[in-house]
Structures are given as C-alpha cells and as structure tokens.
Amino acid sequence: MTPADRFAHLPSLLAADTELRRRGRWVDVDCRIDVGAEPFHLTIRQGELTELERGPRLMRAIAFSIHATDEAWQRHWRKLPEPGWHDLFALTKRGVASIEGDLRPLLQNLQYFKDLLALPRRLPEGH
C-alpha cells in the first residue's frame, strides 16, 4: 500500500477519534495535502472531514497546502517514528516537506492539524 493509499483512510480514522473532533470543533477550512505526487483536497467543517477528494482538482480554492515526499509521510507514520521524522516541522526543517498559502488557519489550530496528519500511524504497520 502506498503512502497515498494510507492517507485515503483519513475519514474513518478521524471518525473514530471523537476527542480530536471535539478539539477541532472551531476548524472550518479547505486545504490540500500532497502525499508525494498525489494531491488530496480536504473540506473540514467544525472539525469534521466532510470531504476528502483524491487527485487533482482544477482551480480549487484552498487556504493552505502541505506537501511532503512519499518517504517523509511513510517515515512520519511509523508507530514510533525515528528522530527527525516525527513532527511536521521536523520534516520542513530537513527539507522533505513544505507549507504554503494562508498559514493563519493552520497556526490557529496547529495541534489539531498535526494530530490529524499523524492519524495514519494508527493503521497497522505495513498497511
């Protein structure tokens, strides 16, 4: 299973995490997460992932996008990630991830987004 295939499980992973959805209840944002070459468009309303669209979308307005390489996500999503691969900003610092756009909604809800993007760790290893 590719890293993008793992990320495609995000709706069920978030649905199973009532605590994260509670913490994210103020989050209303459209954003894009690139897993290697594959873009995902996220529509988040009151902390719920109301839509996750896989693949390119023409002229889709987003607040911000986060891009990381396949390797970066793969290592980030290990149950116990190695040093330097364990946090979103560890990835940007080492140059394998980047964040672009209007960072305000991201920084206003930073722990929510960090935890959201780490959810694939909960999938079985090798899944």
């Binding site: 990630p81 364990h86 610092k93 206003q108 722990q111």
Partner: protein
C-alpha cells in the same frame, strides 16, 4: 492520613537585576552543593519538579529552580506595560548571577535547558570561575531556526495554544503522555509575547559560534546532554559545539526530546544521576584569585 507534601518549598526573593527591582519566585529542596536549574524559553521552574523531589539528588545537592522574570510566578518589573519583552545575553546572564549572589550561593552548579543551556555556555565563556560545574541540556552554540516567531504573539492566534503546539513536536514519541501534556501546559500558560521575547536571545542575540572555543573546562567542568528527538537543538548541533571545547563531556540521550527533565523524568534521571555523581566528587577548591 497525613497530608502528602512534595519536599520542595517555594519562596519569593527580592533583588535587583541590572538596577531594576524584581521579585523572583523560586523553589528549593535538599542540602549540599547548590544546583541552580534554568527552565526553557516560555516555561517556568516547574519543569524541574522531579529533580527537586528526587532524594538521591537532594541528599547531596541544594536544588534551586527560579522562574525567570516574566515567567511563572515571577512577575515582570513595574512598568512592563511600556516595554516589549526581549531577553538578551546580558540580561539573562545578569539575572542568573543576581539570583546566585542574592542567595549567597558559593560556587554553585548551574544546569539549564534550551535557552538555559545556551546561557550556560555563555557562563562557561565569561564567568567560569564563579561556578563549580556547568550542565547544558539541549544546548549548542547556534541552531538553525525552524519557524517564524512572529506567529507566537498576534491577536488572531492564541499564543498559549500555538506555543504548545509548536514545541509539542520536540517531545519524543516515547515520553509518557501525562508528562508530555504537563510540559505543554506550561507553554499554554506563558504570558503574551514572553516565549517570543525569550527567543530573541536564542535567535538574534545569543550566537556563540565564535566564542565557545575559548571555554576552559579546567576552570569549570562542562557537561552537554541532548535528546535524540530534539530537532531544534539537534544532536549534531551539540556534537559540533562539543568538538570545539577540549575536556567537555557530551552525551546524546536516547528516546528523549527537548525537555528531558519534564517530558520523561525517569529517563532523564538515568542520564543525569551519573553526571551529578561526578560533580559531587569534584574537589571543592576555592574560587581562583582574580588577576
């Protein structure tokens, strides 16, 4: 059932720092060699509560942890509302020396973490003969910035939440959840702009790359310990720094991040006890005469 009391006691100390009156909160426990503990940027002395409560340490050391001005229960000085808080190498060094002098600590050991570790390096550079030994946790002569600190203090982003969320990644994934979240809670409680003001020292004013080579560990022994999960002050940053200092002792701590004493107290204990044992066995020489 008798009350369950932790062994440390808290007091307020009146003193002047650079000619300005301050009222500093500190906690202490134990008897013996004074061991002054310096917290990280944007936090307070509670980070050392496990060191303060460790009988193996307090039977040989008088452990003291003070909240820096503007942090924890140490209020800013009168008139703070007219200034933007900015910590500098000079003001930080002055605060530590003023605290030690006011309490009449004779050649204390100073242990600091993060910005506390960086300033310990400056103590080794500029004031080594005042200290029995120096311990720098998560310290280096310089670190590459990894975010824009302007996000830490603006009205449309909650300062406490963003500070905690940023530093959360510096905690090792192995650290116990309760200790992780206790560490983050202190960041959530910081005053507006205080974490950012501390980082002024870290990012702008405290570059020691040209100076650490002058440290003489024969005057004052120096110990560097850094967690492998610290991507702010990386193990490579610490090792690069250590390579310039003859006689320094350096150790990389496994399964630990940027806040060893508070994010994983049990693991930190394994690393710090041998260092403190070495320090306690150092000859108790008098302060060298100044030339």
């Amino acid at each position: 059932m008798p009350p369950m009391l932790d062994p440390m006691v808290g007091r307020y100390l009146r003193l002047e720092i650079e000619g300005v009156a301050h009222r500093l909160y500190f906690e202490e426990a134990g008897r013996g060699i004074p061991l002054v503990c310096l917290h990280t940027a944007g936090a307070d002395g509670r980070q050392y509560r496990h060191v303060l409560a460790d009988a193996e340490i307090t039977r040989r050391f008088r452990v003291l942890a003070f909240d820096m001005p503007w942090h924890g229960k140490s209020s800013p000085p009168d008139g703070w509302e007219r200034d933007e808080y900015r910590l500098t190498t000079a003001s930080y060094t002055a605060a530590i020396r003023a605290f030690c002098a006011a309490l009449e600590l004779e050649r204390p050991v100073v242990m600091g973490c993060s910005i506390g570790g960086r300033i310990v390096l400056n103590l080794a550079i500029a004031h080594a003969d005042e200290f029995r030994a120096l311990v720098a946790l998560e310290a280096a002569d310089f670190q590459q910035p990894w975010y824009d600190t302007s996000w830490l203090h603006r009205p449309d982003v909650h300062g406490g939440e963003v500070c905690a969320a940023l530093v959360s990644g510096l905690i090792a994934p192995h650290s116990p959840p309760a200790s992780r979240h206790e560490t983050l809670w202190m960041y959530m409680q910081g005053g507006p702009g205080v974490f950012r003001g501390d980082l002024y020292f870290y990012r702008v004013d405290g570059d020691l790359r040209d100076k650490v080579g002058t440290i003489d560990t024969r005057v004052c022994p120096l110990y560097l310990l850094t967690g492998e999960y610290d991507f702010s002050c990386t193990p490579d940053d610490t090792l690069r720094t250590a390579a310039q200092i003859p006689g320094v002792e350096v150790q990389i701590m496994k399964e630990v991040g940027h806040f060893p004493m508070s994010e994983n107290p049990a693991k930190f204990r394994d690393y710090i006890l041998p260092v403190l044992a070495k320090i306690s066995s150092l000859p108790d020489r008098a302060r060298p005469a100044r030339s």
